[in-house]
Amino acid sequence: MMSKRLVVSLVTVMAAGIIAPSLRAQDEKWNNVPPRRSAYDGRKSSGPAPRRDMSGIWDAAQTLGVSGATEHPALLPGGRGAEGGREDETGIAKPLPYTPAGLEALKKNKPSGPGVRQVDSVLTNDPAGKCDPLGFPYMFLWELRTLNVVQTPKQVIMLSPFYGNYRVIWTDGRQPPKDPDPRYNGYSVGNWVDDYTFVVQTTGMLAKTWLDHAGRPHSDQLAVEETYRRVDRDTIELTMKITDPQMYTEPWLALNKIPLHLQPPDFDIPELLCSPSEFAEYNKQVGGVVLRDSSKK
């Protein structure tokens, strides 16, 4: 018979082996790597959701973060990374409901991001290609990785070290501005519609920003509704609805119940900033060198 102590030791060693990846991530206090999506498969809830609470470090658990351009079935003609499909996005399953003006605006945007309209990186007019502010909702529809969410009595503050973005969502009962002076991140107000559902309305975004990394357009009439559903202690499901009557004939979901996973409170999110000088150096060494048609330079 194995002694009790030996059995305990063996179980401990086996358990350590199974959960080694997450332990390893926590061993280092800095630049933590979030677990992969598969780490959450079959994981049991650690408890019920706290009431009206969004605070914590939340990770979208994707290899490259959630990307609206790739998550939505209509957002990437031809599939992930493929160069098929049609430039005007017709002939695909569930195309986005563009208005004629929306389609015109789409054609003017030359993305370096995924999809059939992807151009050489030095030819893009993507604001991200100049390290311009992404604005909202672009910052959430391109590589939504890890968010640090801070909740105060009057605000929910979302810090995204990806490109150094932050958002302030007012929860003090104020109404959205009636005649907003447009700004990159717009104006956000949030309400708890029940103890576990936080709904954010954002308006007043600058029309020059893009909706996502694939170059979908929006106008100054854009209204974004986010629904954060706290499923349990560990998980929030995020849904994002896009409404913009100038560009789209009807509202559509850019994100649909994307799970955000709670990380340990000492999780240190690595920074990932866009530096114009680093980007210029990259274009000098790579982007400009690989240009397919140098006459376009």
């Binding site: 990437l76 599939g79 992930r80 995924p114 790579v286 060198v289």
Partner: protein, 125 residues
């Protein structure tokens, strides 16, 4: 311009790896339909945004040396795959499987096997 036959040690059908999973920033410039193996000596390792670069001097069958610029993703994404700022160092003998620039320049995206000083480097994907 590098010798077409040289430098490139072998071509591997993309079928072996399936379709490319992600559309890389600027991926339109690279031929994602096939893999190319570049073997040589690391001259510089640049651990920075927007893309980590590994520069490799590779010799063709005539003895000509070409300096390849091979890019990965950003440091955060590479870290999630197990790379660090010390994964490569100048002088390392490496073989890297890449998608090459469509215009034929000695530039590529690291997409497949990584061998460093004879040892296979397994990404934690």
């Amino acid at each position: 311009m590098p010798n077409k036959r040289g430098i490139v040690a072998c071509l591997v059908a993309i079928a072996a790896f399936g379709a490319p999973l992600f559309a890389h920033h600027g991926a339109a410039s690279f031929d994602t339909s096939k893999m190319v193996m570049v073997s040589g000596t690391v001259t510089e390792y640049v651990w920075t945004n927007p893309h980590v670069l590994v520069k490799v001097d590779a010799k063709d069958d005539k003895g000509n040396i070409t300096n390849w610029v091979l890019e990965a993703w950003n440091p955060v994404t590479q870290a999630s795959r197990g790379w660090t700022k010390a994964t490569f160092k100048p002088g390392d003998d490496v073989s890297l499987e890449i998608n090459r620039a469509k215009n034929g320049q000695p530039v590529g995206e690291i997409r497949g096997r990584i061998v460093i000083n004879g040892k296979e480097f397994k990404e934690s994907l």
